[in-house]
Symmetry: C2
Subunit: 208 residues, 2 copies
């Protein structure tokens, strides 16, 4: 006689990550308030009770999602800058294109929109996100611009302003796509836009 397969399994180690993944999917699609924990549980293949076994409440789950999801990607970019040799505009393109690439595929890129939507409802989480993600990536790009100025490749601009001007369009397009994909009659290709934006930018940054 073959043993009947059990109705559920004990998987203490795997649960938190699976629940976080499910929550990420639903939060970044519907937002925090509109997401039901019943649905998160179902998508994670468990029941609501299990969610509460691993997370204190809905808000703590939300925090966990943000914490576990966003930070790793930045570290890769930072080493890229550290080790770079050659033209700074090349590095800029490398950063922008790899970013656009990741945005198109990684589920974690939905976090931007989620944070924008929920920041005022979760001040401490917003602070965490700003410090660990926004400011840090802004500084990353400001750094590249600064070095480009020092080497004489770019004209003298405010690096922090420039960093905002570099990052904002990509984030915005991604956020738009996510929000309005169903109704925008002229969808953009993220990578194509990144290329277009880069060309405009580099010509704008070069000496006249």
């Amino acid at each position: 006689m073959n043993t009947p397969l059990p109705r559920w399994q004990r998987r203490k180690d795997a649960r938190p990550a699976e629940i976080i993944q499910a929550a990420l999917t639903l939060f970044s699609d519907k937002g925090f308030a509109a997401t039901r924990l019943d649905d998160v549980a179902k998508l994670a293949g468990v029941t609501k009770g299990t969610v509460y076994l691993y997370f204190e409440n809905k808000e703590e789950l939300f925090k966990a999602v943000v914490r576990e999801t966003v930070v790793p990607a930045l570290e890769f970019a930072e080493t890229l800058v550290e080790e770079h040799q050659g033209a700074w505009s090349d590095l800029l393109w490398q950063l922008l294109s790899s970013w656009a690439e990741r945005m198109e595929h990684a589920t974690s890129s939905g976090i931007s929109r989620l944070m924008i939507a929920e920041a005022t409802n979760f001040p401490e989480l917003a602070r965490f996100y700003v410090d660990e993600v926004v400011v840090r990536s802004r500084r990353l790009f400001a750094d590249v611009i600064s070095r480009g100025i020092q080497s004489g490749e770019f004209r003298e601009v405010d690096p922090m302003m420039a960093a905002r001007a570099v990052t904002a369009p990509l984030v915005m397009i991604k956020v738009w796509k996510q929000s309005f994909s169903l109704c925008d009659t002229e969808p953009v290709d993220l990578k194509a836009f990144a290329r277009f934006h880069f060309d405009l930018l580099v010509q704008g940054l070069r000496h006249r």
Copy 2:
């Protein structure tokens, strides 16, 4: 004997606008779901029951807020383009700076963030917003770029792409400011950023 002032007054005509204004404030601060109708009512100086006198339900109130608030501003910009004479880059600056100006003061500029947050929960409203606001303003800027290309002032770029590249940064900065104003340690001045963005842009658009 002076008549005791009444506990409340009948102001049938003024109520809808006041309720919409209150709803706009709270929606654009907290988002749709996180806003309680009790709070909207209180801010509007009425009780919840009154809200239901003038609006069928919460969702209809939301729609009214978007409808009444965003469309008017665009019309002004469209006449500006129609009547313009002279350099197209001048018009571009005129549009960008007046837009930044409005963003800094009008409560209605909170709608962008609100729509971004709630679009997936209100597909029909999202379509309305995309058609009446997003696409229309994108077309406005694409138009200016096109004419600039025709006149030889700008190099040949895809006008629609360029329009996105022109509008995205401003919207993004505004949205960021709104979401993270409490925690961003390096706040931007919107007008200064608009100026910076414009300079970068125009040099990027000109012939090499």
